[in-house]
């Protein structure tokens, strides 16, 4: 659906994205992930033919975005960052305008607008002025606009930006539903979002593609460490001494003491579950145990590990 090859964009001496290459297949939901200023929006703006690239090429549904831009754009439903809308129009009027702009005629445009409003839960506010809508509803109008002509590909730039937790959940659900019918490329810096909705993640930092894989694989491959917390009735130095010796433990640190109880956080090597071994150890030493919790590494850990180590590398090389 999307085929990007060596895409480069330089603004006045600054390189926003550098030889970016990736593919998105039909029916995929792909998260485009990176810290602020990594080049996410620039890439999406180029893909939607709003900006040009300095070098490289990209194709949407087989149409080159530079030489065959109008036809490429016919396949895209795009929701830009911050969702710009004509605030002096009514919701239904706006969507009808957008539908006709995207090539639907007369009745089809009305139906398309109605359907998009239904999908995004806007039917109740269809005759309201966009200026009077809350942020959450405006976001939905933007999404409805992207959907209105049922494009093959949805490109959403930070779709949950600025929403409250309930709204974020609703938008996420909506995106998952839409995944049945559309190919979706979402840019975001909210990691939990990607973990929940996306089948694949592309991580970009400083204009370079750093990784492209499923969230699970990324966590595994990047070797983000998991954490186990125990609360045990013994002296801190005793338990730490034992833990240091245990295989699979990367480090153990004393978090706090509550009376006789000691809380210790253990960083484990990737994909290692220490709980059973810890249990055995406690029985062996006859230390009472009242908490044993394992937290697996999240995409967040992987992401932080990846982007931070890169920044450090950069700092060293300068």
């Amino acid at each position: 659906m999307i085929h990007v090859e060596n895409l480069t964009k330089r603004y006045a001496g600054k390189t926003a994205i550098d030889r970016v290459t990736f593919d998105v297949g039909r029916g995929e939901i792909v998260g485009f992930l990176g810290p602020n200023g990594a080049g996410k929006s620039t890439t999406l703006k180029i893909l939607t033919c709003y900006l040009s690239a300095t070098a490289g090429s990209a194709k949407i549904a087989g149409h080159d975005i530079f030489t065959d831009s109008v036809r490429a754009r016919q396949h895209i439903g795009y929701m830009p960052e911050n969702v710009p809308l004509y605030t002096d129009m009514r919701v239904a009027e706006y969507l009808n305008f957008r539908a006709r702009l995207k090539g639907l005629r007369g009745r089809d445009a009305t139906l398309g607008a109605e359907e998009a409003m239904e999908t995004t839960g806007l039917s109740g506010v269809s005759s309201k002025m966009i200026a009077s809508l809350s942020k959450g509803y405006r976001q939905r109008v933007g999404l409805a606009d992207a959907l209105v002509n049922k494009p093959d590909l949805l490109i959403l730039d930070e779709p949950t930006n600025g929403l409250d937790p309930n709204q974020i959940r609703q938008v996420r659900e909506l995106i998952k539903q839409l995944g049945d019918r559309h190919t979706i490329l979402i840019s975001t810096h909210i990691l939990s979002e990607v973990e929940v909705t996306c089948g694949r993640v592309i991580i970009i930092n400083h204009g370079h593609i750093k990784a492209s894989d499923t969230p699970q694989n990324l966590i595994r491959r990047l070797g983000a460490a998991g954490k186990t917390v125990i609360e045990v009735k013994t002296a801190p130095n005793l338990v730490l001494e034992e833990l240091e010796k245990m295989p699979g433990v990367e480090s153990a640190s004393h978090v706090m003491s509550r009376g006789d109880w000691t809380v210790v956080e253990i960083a484990t090597e990737p994909n290692i579950d220490l709980r059973e071994a810890l249990h055995e150890l406690m029985i062996d030493r006859k230390w009472p145990l009242r908490e044993l919790t394992r937290r697996t590494a999240s995409l967040e850990d992987a992401f932080v590990g990846l982007t931070k180590s890169l920044d450090e590398e950069r700092a060293e090389s300068h």
Partner: protein, 251 residues
């Protein structure tokens, strides 16, 4: 053509769903009605070889209101879209930039034509109200209409270009107004400076709106102003197109 029509009608709606079109048409009409009455009064007191049409459209007061019309009508067109970010949604839809430019341009031309209607109605009402013979002939009125349309088309194209170059409406309006005023004053330069008959004076006479308007108001329809204004319009619209397309250039 369909895309053109969709954007054209949306633009026209946004002119008429805000107070802008009514304020512009109403005040421009009012200003000219007052001017019309004054000129009729002056003409009834003294003898003038010129017609009512000529005197109205040659009056400095008319040009003042007229020059204000264009920045006000055009400043919004692209500057607002750039400020709000809606230019991005508009230009990432499957539309050609030239369609957007032309649709916005012709929507503004339509509002401009609507603003001219009350002014021309004044002439048509003249006989009925005063019971006197018209102090002008139909050809002069027709010529003046043609002249105003041509000058208006060029000025609107200028305003569209100014609006496309900035995201600040005030700047767009000021630049447009300054250029229109400069153009207006350049037309008078031939009477004050320069050697009579020199190339420069002739050239400045040729670009003068006021001079062209004088001959149109006498009912003289010359092909040269047509070529001048229409080519000027085309050039400005082409520049607008390039300004908007510039983002997509590979630089």
């Amino acid at each position: 053509m369909r895309v053109f029509y969709v954007i054209f009608s949306k633009e026209l709606r946004s002119f008429f769903s805000s107070p802008l079109a009514y304020v512009v048409i109403g005040l421009f009409g009012l200003l000219n009605a007052w001017l019309f009455v004054s000129i009729v009064t002056v003409m009834s007191m003294s003898v003038t070889p010129r017609s009512l049409v000529y005197n109205l459209f040659d009056s400095g007061w008319f040009w003042m209101g007229f020059c204000f019309l264009f920045p006000v009508l055009t400043m919004r067109l692209f500057a607002e879209e750039q400020k709000m970010g809606t230019l991005e949604t508009l230009l990432t839809a499957p539309v050609r930039t030239i369609q957007v430019v032309m649709a916005k341009y012709f929507a503004t031309v339509t509002v401009y034509l609507a603003a001219l209607v009350p002014v021309f109605l004044l002439f048509l009402l003249f006989r009925g109200v005063t019971g006197q013979a018209e102090a002008f002939h139909g050809g002069a009125l027709f010529g003046a209409a043609v002249g105003l349309i041509l000058i208006g088309m060029a000025n609107i194209a200028l305003g569209v270009l100014c609006s496309a170059m900035t995201s600040n409406q005030i700047i767009a309006a000021m630049v447009c107004f300054a250029v229109i005023m400069l153009h207006y004053f350049l037309g008078f330069f031939q009477y004050f400076g320069g050697m009579p008959g020199s190339l420069m004076t002739a050239g400045l006479g040729y670009v003068s709106n006021v001079d062209h308007m004088r001959s149109f108001s006498e009912g003289l329809i010359d092909s040269r102003p047509f070529i001048y204004y229409l080519s000027f319009t085309a050039l400005l619209l082409a520049m607008t197109h390039h300004v908007l397309e510039f983002r997509r250039w590979r630089v």
